[in-house]
Symmetry: C2
Subunit: 394 residues, 2 copies
């Protein structure tokens, strides 16, 4: 946004508000003292609002992937039949963790770019089972698709009521309405560097009573990621192992900012940024990878035209301090991704679109300057419900 600050448009880590950054510079404290205990309690309280739960939410010092591992090993035993719905790289990863620890995993592989369909999930569930757990991805970061997690969960509850529903919510929860308890989700995982505007290093695990109960007999080995140990420590204001204290400082500030802004405003902001990103890129001639009906509110995955030199284009973006993400897994070299979650605002997206226009022009593509930013701005303000009293210059 200026010559010295990157417009970091990757889907995490996300840019940090100044107050959050500064909290990362605090001096260390005793992680077994009252100040830490109070912080942890405030953070869990703040998270509950966005998870839509009354659960104890446990803080793990790890990346989100550690949280996914925790979800698996704290609820399952080797040999358990697990149904994994994968819509991309992170769905594949979740399934892989389960099989690594000895679960008997059956996969439903949804074509990338699409969300899972509740009816298809039901059909596939019926073909096997009984299922001990179903793995779902809320927001698939690799493809820019957001699953209709409420519909999927309802279908699973109907068809396989005893199956635990384990949800990778890493890159979505906090940015869009989410109601873990109402939707009957047994484990939901997220991570500090996504919607939570903090540095990476802390994962969150929110477990239902049913999941805690399953944990009592779950035999997959676990030590570092033992959630029961974490819950027990948390009851006395601590963590079982030394926590990533500086990230906890940041989360405390970030959740304060989120509470001040309010969930509805946060969700509206994300919706507007997502709409602007999609409209702006579309206006510049890009096609979007995701099924529009299930396009993610936190990350947009953009097809790279065959005749566009990605390296040259990306170099032009980077020269102008815009950092986007490349493709992952089978999409490497085929797409790029624009993150719009966390502290993102509409003007940052417009700035991003402006640099995309510059980059396209710099590598000799034919576009109409202003088309992307104008389309983005129109979609963004429309999403925000801002309408002009009289239209000037249209």
């Amino acid at each position: 946004m200026n010559r010295f600050e990157t417009n970091l448009r990757i889907p995490g880590p996300t840019s940090l508000p100044s107050a959050v950054r500064e909290a990362g510079a605090r001096q260390m404290i005793n992680h077994r003292g009252p100040e830490f205990a109070a912080m942890q309690e405030r953070i869990v309280g703040g998270l509950r609002t966005f998870f839509g739960t009354a659960n104890d939410i446990v803080l793990l010092s790890s990346a989100g992937t550690g949280g996914l591992e925790a979800a698996i090993v704290n609820t399952l035993s080797p040999g358990d039949k697990v149904f994994a719905v994968s819509i991309g790289s992170f769905g594949d990863r979740f399934a892989k963790i389960a099989s690594t620890y000895g679960a008997d995993v059956t996969r439903l592989d949804v074509p990338w770019g699409h969300a899972a369909d509740a009816a298809a999930v039901v059909d596939a569930l019926r073909a096997g089972g009984p299922w001990k757990a179903v793995l779902l991805t809320h927001n698939e970061t690799s493809t820019g698709v957001m699953n209709p997690i409420d519909e999927l969960a309802a279908a699973v509850r109907e068809e396989a009521p005893d199956a635990l529903i384990l949800v990778d919510g890493v890159s979505g929860v906090g940015a869009v309405p989410f109601r873990q308890d109402d939707w009957g989700l047994d484990v939901v995982i997220s991570g500090s560097q996504k919607s939570w505007m903090s540095a990476p290093g802390i994962a969150f695990a929110s477990m239902s009573d049913r999941a805690w109960e399953a944990g009592r007999t779950a035999r997959m080995p676990r030590f570092y990621f033992d959630l029961a140990k974490h819950r027990e420590s948390q009851a006395s204001g601590q963590t079982p192992w030394t926590p990533a204290v500086a990230v906890v400082f940041q989360l405390d500030v970030a959740l304060g900012l989120m509470a001040a802004e309010g969930p509805e405003a946060i969700f509206a902001r994300h919706a507007a940024c997502a709409a602007a990103t999609r409209a702006g890129l579309d206006a510049l001639g890009f096609s979007l990878y995701a099924d529009p009906a299930h396009a993610s509110q936190t990350v947009t995955c953009v097809n790279l035209p065959d005749d566009l030199d990605w390296k040259a284009f990306n170099a032009e973006l980077k020269r102008r301090k815009l950092v986007v993400a490349g493709g992952q897994g089978q999409l490497t070299g085929k797409v790029f991704r624009v993150g719009h979650l966390g502290t993102v605002t509409l003007d940052e997206i417009i700035a991003c679109l402006g640099v995309v226009e510059e980059g396209l022009l710099a590598i000799g593509r034919t576009i109409t300057p202003g088309a992307g930013v104008a389309a983005g701005q129109r979609a963004g303000v429309e999403s925000l419900g801002l309408t002009a009293r009289s239209t000037v210059g249209a």
Copy 2:
């Protein structure tokens, strides 16, 4: 050290130098870009000096305990015979991780407060085996004892040459001379919040060729802590999962400071601070928990006299901004611990002793004011080799 900054004398997290703190406030970057790659490479290079190794050292986003788990699950299979030498809480933890993942663990429990004896280890090794691995603690944080790790490793190598030697080096490496390669240690683990003057959140795992080779057939399940995946990512400047970027920023600065100071000066500083702590507390009538021959250079464990009201005493310390650690496990309520590792300097230890004197006086103990600080100062400067040309006022 002033009314607004705590003298944080717990054995980790340790106080951060200002430049390190400030690095924690940096804006996020793309963790899959060249800036991160360069940082990771510098950090690994800096760590190698202090580990005394030419190994690839892998960065894990976790507490040190996660590193201990990585050491176990990346080298062993369920049923493997493991010999665990425990001299305290952290030795117990290391053994527990191994048994949790299905190792057949035989323990040598050394009476707390003492180091392990090489001859006793040899005798115990002879009574069983063949051993797939031996677990050793370098510095036992719970008791303030530093094992003669070189002697122990030599004995293990002699008696059980095929056994992998896995070392918990979390709270010692970086503060004292350490030569992983010369001593034939197969895995050494440490953590960012100890000698490394950074916030918690990153663990280090240094694996020998023999350990990597063992990893190829090791069948304990692992995903998040899969070291081979980390090594592979690291070869291209990345990490397999999103790393704790802000801690990496801090480590980069901290290792720069450590390189500038130089290993010999760092080790001398730690030795002086340890000597001062012990001498000062001894002069104030405290008895020390650890066998003096193996007292730790990074943490001192102090017996609480039966007639000393710990809560009242500790409240007086805290009022004066001195934070020490209580006892762990079976030592809860029986000892307190003073950390002297990382950025610690002799004057901070003297300040700490001064507050201990004040605290003792405040709760009505009979001491000679100045006795602790003077004894600490004498021991510290003697350790540093600073001698007066002529003694004035003695």
